[in-house]
Symmetry: C2
Subunit: 135 residues, 2 copies
DNA sequence: CTCTTTGCAAAACATTTGCATGCCT
DNA sequence: AGGCATGCAAATGTTTTGCAAAGAG
């Protein structure tokens, strides 16, 4: 997905393309890593000093629901990044310092064929550590 | 680990064995699943109406630090359960309704030998779904 | 008797919601 | 014009912390 496609997706679903939404989406496409909500707010506040954080929360939730972003949670904080491979199932290696992530295609679920009397609906596999820049 | 061993571990590390701590520990050993903090507070409030939730938070953090409990986070809530296999690396299948978990010995990290220029420090692999009782 | 534990109060923090105004289309 | 978006205010929910009183060893 490109940022243009993301904006088209907004329009296609009946949502307006506002300046703030454009900035948020471009910011995510220019920073391909898991960003904390705070990081997004700090960035947007520079451009729009009067910005209210609710707007960011609301838009991030919207983008997540539309499949533009994907969400994870680390240390009690939500984090988002571009869902650039929406159609491919994958997992992430996430840097604990900068939030940058690499995609890994391996999914451990292939090794866990079935669990008796348990209906599996989802799973989470994430690797944490430090990237080359943050070590 | 047994509940008795857990209490001995407390004493050995210079902490008192209070009635509330005993109740909390027994409650975890009698309910072998991921319990939310709220569940623990609700249970303990029945026995000690004057209970303050801070006590529960403080003790759960203590037990976690001592290796008696292990922690996870689901939907922005912390959850704890007995760390019954502290020495063995393992993962969990967790019921989204009741929090009950099964241990699985498979660790996907054996399939992910190394990631270039990334220093791995930890990982999370959890499977979510519904157990036989909650389906 | 001393040190730990607890309750109380308050704060810290992340997130959500109702409502009125304002901006896209 | 009409509906979605935003800011404001306030609420919600979870977790943490300082301090003084109560309890354990």
């Amino acid at each position: 997905m490109t940022s243009t496609e993301a904006l088209e997706l907004l329009k296609k679903n009946g949502y307006s393309i506002t300046d703030k939404r454009e900035k948020i989406i471009h910011y995510f496409f220019e920073h391909p890593r898991y960003l904390s909500v705070k990081e997004v707010i700090d960035y947007l506040k520079e451009l729009y000093p009067g910005l209210s954080f609710e707007t960011v929360y609301r838009n991030l939730a919207l983008f997540r629901d539309l499949g533009i972003l994907e969400e994870t949670e680390l240390d009690g904080e939500k984090r988002f990044q571009v869902n650039c491979e929406a159609s491919h199932h994958h997992h992430h290696v996430i840097c604990l310092k900068c939030g940058k992530s690499k995609t890994i295609q391996q999914c451990p679920m292939s090794q866990v064929p079935e669990i008796e009397e348990f209906k599996i609906v989802e799973h989470k596999f994430e690797i944490y550590g430090y990237c080359s820049d943050c070590q």
